[in-house]
């Protein structure tokens, strides 16, 4: 079977070209294209004639290039994988050493697994798309509240519905519409773990008047954690939330909150909304 396919590959390729000349970019990716070639040549997916398929695959890529179509990098990565498999297929299998596992994995095995796995999800996707979709086959009431509830004010005091993506996107959009210089100054990425450490230090200080410097590090075994805690401490000093005092040289370093304990709600209203 593979041999037969090999001899007529030129004409098969014509078929590929003709059949798909109108929708050359119709393949979702290299795996989709490979599955198509396997079907087209009617070969066994568990015994892919790799030379034939590789050649047709490369021909297809060449065609796309000649037509000046944008070739997604993913197609090229697969091309190199195919060539690699092909060359490994040409090498004689090394004699199994004494006591070594006799079974050598077929160079194609990994590709076959991926193809089959991909096919499953592609089919599952098609099955999903064929369901009775809300807004396509089935419909719900357009304005569920209000329509028939005149006079009732809707109170949205229920559970918060928030989405992490929306939160990040909100910040992203904000940065996008800001002048670049200002955005750059805002977009620091790695401050988050420091903020955790800041919160931790503030929480620990919450109940007492001061804290010993060493006490901050006692539980922390990891070096990274210690650095982050130290950076947090520096940040807290920088924004003048903490004071660090050392009474004598080499003496114990004490950390004090530089503000009196604040009453959350009261202070907020008073200072924010005078």
């Amino acid at each position: 079977m593979p041999q037969a396919a090999e001899t007529s590959s030129a004409s098969l390729f014509e078929g590929v070209v003709q059949g798909y000349s109108v929708k050359l970019d119709a393949f979702e990716g290299p795996l989709d294209l490979l599955l198509h070639l396997i079907r087209k040549n009617e070969v066994d997916i568990y015994d892919i004639p790799i030379a034939l398929i590789t050649r047709q695959y490369l021909d297809y890529l060449k065609l796309m290039k000649e037509l000046n179509l944008d070739l997604a990098g993913d197609f090229l990565v697969m091309a190199s994988t195919l060539l690699q498999i092909k060359s490994r297929m040409l090498l004689p299998l090394p004699e199994p050493e004494e006591g070594e596992n006799e079974e050598q994995e077929d160079p194609r095995a990994e590709l076959v697994r991926r193809l089959i796995e991909y096919q499953r999800y592609r089919d599952a996707g098609l099955e999903l798309g064929a369901r009775e979709l809300l807004g396509r086959e089935v419909f719900i009431r357009p304005c569920a509240d209000g329509c028939c509830l005149e006079g009732l004010a809707v109170v949205d005091d229920g559970p918060l519905e928030l989405d992490l993506y929306e939160l990040s996107e909100a910040f992203n959009r904000l940065l996008a519409r800001m002048p670049t210089a200002r955005a750059h100054e805002v977009a620091a990425q790695d401050t988050l773990s420091i903020v955790d450490a800041i919160n931790e230090i503030l929480t620990r200080l919450d109940s007492r008047a001061s804290l010993e410097f060493e006490a901050l590090f006692i539980d922390d075994s990891s070096r990274e954690r210690m650095i982050v805690t130290f950076l947090a401490l520096l940040e807290l000093c920088r924004i003048k939330l903490l004071k660090v005092i050392q009474n004598s040289r080499y003496g114990t370093i004490h950390i004090f909150p530089s503000v009196a304990a604040t009453d959350d709600d009261g202070v907020a209203d008073e200072l924010l909304f005078p």
Binding site: L90, F139, I140, R141, D145, V155, D157, P159, L167, T191
Partner: protein
């Protein structure tokens, strides 16, 4: 499809309509049916709901027909409109994002970034316990410093703030990956060897 009765079709149309539907409009949407049949079907449908003692009924309002809940259910429905999931306005989301990603942060800093007054939004976020006061900055004016709360982590199901998606990761969804192998590949050179 062919088996859908006219009554069922009209029921569906009234269900998805966002206001009362006139007989004219219904007839226009159902070109295969006579106006008289449509009128009859609407009346049958109304009687149906009446007979079933259903929770909804078909009423003629503002010259059209509309499905509504029966007035007797008001006490139950008013209970329901309370406690609906709170949706966030864009400005609340933006402010929360700034506090989350830039904390510890002052109101002035937030307003510098957003370019608008943020007092009311900040107050809402404090009331919803998503944002808390960390303390006061020791500079003239002693502005309040804000950060996110434990509840914030709970709402987003985060273990700690490190669980927040980095902006780079979100931004990278837009980027086309760069494939370095592109140049190296010998596309023309088909291996000469034949099996």
């Amino acid at each position: 499809m062919s088996s859908s009765s006219l009554n069922a079709i009209i029921e569906g149309l009234l269900f998805v309509s966002d206001g009362p539907m006139t007989l004219d409009r219904l007839t226009e949407l159902l070109p295969d049916y006579e106006r008289a049949s449509v009128r009859l079907a609407v009346q049958e449908l109304r009687d149906d709901y009446e007979l079933r003692n259903a929770g909804i009924h078909l009423v003629e309002v503002a010259g059209g027909w509309q499905l509504r809940t029966v007035p007797e259910l008001m006490p139950y429905l008013s209970r329901m409109v309370k406690g609906r999931p709170a949706r966030f306005s864009q400005s609340a989301l933006e402010t929360l994002a700034i506090v989350a990603y830039r904390q510890p942060v002052t109101r002035q800093e937030i307003e510098y970034l957003r370019g608008v007054d943020t007092g009311a939004v900040l107050k809402t976020l404090l009331e919803k316990h998503l944002v808390k006061i960390l303390g006061k900055k020791d500079i003239p004016g002693r502005p309040i410093i804000y950060g996110t709360s434990k509840e914030f982590l709970e709402v987003f199901n985060l273990k700690d703030l490190k669980g927040l998606p980095t902006l780079r990761e979100i931004q990278s969804l837009d980027e086309t990956p760069v494939f370095e192998v592109q140049e190296e590949l010998p596309l023309q050179a088909l291996p000469p060897r034949e099996e």
